[in-house]
């Protein structure tokens, strides 16, 4: 190319299109970039969030609560209370959590499980 490359003055329409393009791309990132594949398990102990684990890695988690050690098992993309020191074992009876939004709790040992993500169809559960 013979002549020097000079920037021409940007036209109003061009700038507009570029801005809209930027917004569009940003929204795409926001909308599509939230790890859809692996659901996450959030474990709470007492008031605080104890840990968050991806469900795509099998593991056992032992948590020390007020009355003893609760064991949580993640396997095959699902999670459950495997054992807990509570006398009634309600938490263990809840079985496998597999869908986003599902939750289980061991009240005596103050451990709760929740599969994050998914649109919860309600704000709070009455029971």
């Amino acid at each position: 190319m013979a002549s020097a490359f000079r920037w021409s003055k940007p036209l109003l329409g061009d700038v507009l299109v570029i801005l809209v393009g930027l917004i569009f791309v940003t929204c795409l990132f926001k909308a599509l970039w939230h790890n859809e594949h692996a659901a996450k398990l959030q474990i709470r102990l007492g008031d605080k969030i104890y840990a968050t684990y991806s469900l795509d890695q099998n593991r056992n988690i032992d948590i020390q609560g007020p009355i003893g050690i609760t064991r949580i098992v993640i396997a095959n993309g699902k999670a459950r209370f495997a054992s807990s020191p509570c006398p009634n074992q309600y938490c263990v009876h809840q079985g496998w959590l597999s869908h986003k939004g599902q939750a289980a709790i061991c009240l005596p040992n103050q451990v709760s499980l929740e599969l994050l993500g998914g649109e919860k169809p309600f704000d709070s559960l009455n029971y």
């Binding site: 329409g13 061009d14 791309v25 599509l32 970039w33 594949h37």
Partner: protein, 183 residues
């Protein structure tokens, strides 16, 4: 077309415009081939330099010509590369078609406010969208593709702007009344 019973040669009348278009089409094919051979950081992400040719033709000639050049490029390149009717060809064609469709309308945008940069960005998004559509519907029908869409669209935006700027430059140094030897 003239045909004489004694003279068996066939003459096709061509104009200087035809020559120019042929040169531009050849140039476009050349660019396509080069891009096909160059490694890219991410599969599917290419600078799309051939869009510059398409746009240039659109500005200097008309939409129909640009469409010809673009489609000629797609078919000829795929024949030359040996992937005619393959998935690669489908991607190339879908991108070109959708991008042309958008340009068909975008060409009427007032030149006072919108330069080739706008058309290039719009064409780039359309091109990418056309390709992603083929990927999603035909080639890889899983939702894993969703993860890549923002990246591809961001690349489309960046290259769209770059190509648009280059096109503006080329248009500026090759003003409307062309000498046959240049460009």
């Amino acid at each position: 077309m003239t045909q004489s019973s004694k003279n068996k040669s066939i003459e096709i009348q061509t104009t200087s415009d035809d020559h120019r278009i042929a040169k531009l089409a050849a140039f476009a094919i050349g660019l396509h081939l080069i891009e096909a051979v160059l490694p890219s950081p991410l599969p599917g992400v290419k600078p799309g330099l051939t869009n510059i040719v398409t746009l240039f033709v659109l500005y200097r000639f008309d939409f129909a010509t640009a469409a010809w050049v673009s489609l000629l490029r797609v078919f000829a390149s795929s024949l030359l590369l040996g992937n005619f009717l393959s998935p690669t060809f489908a991607l190339s064609l879908s991108g070109a078609l959708l991008s042309l469709a958008v340009l068909f309308f975008a060409q009427y945008l007032p030149r006072r406010y919108f330069s080739a940069v706008t058309l290039s960005v719009l064409a780039a998004f359309a091109h990418m969208a056309g390709q992603l559509l083929v990927v999603r519907v035909w080639l890889i029908p899983q939702s894993g593709v969703a993860y890549l869409i923002p990246i591809f669209m961001a690349a489309a935006l960046v290259f769209g702007v770059a190509n648009g700027l280059l096109t503006n430059y080329l248009l500026r140094i090759n003003p409307a009344k062309l000498d046959e030897d240049k460009g």
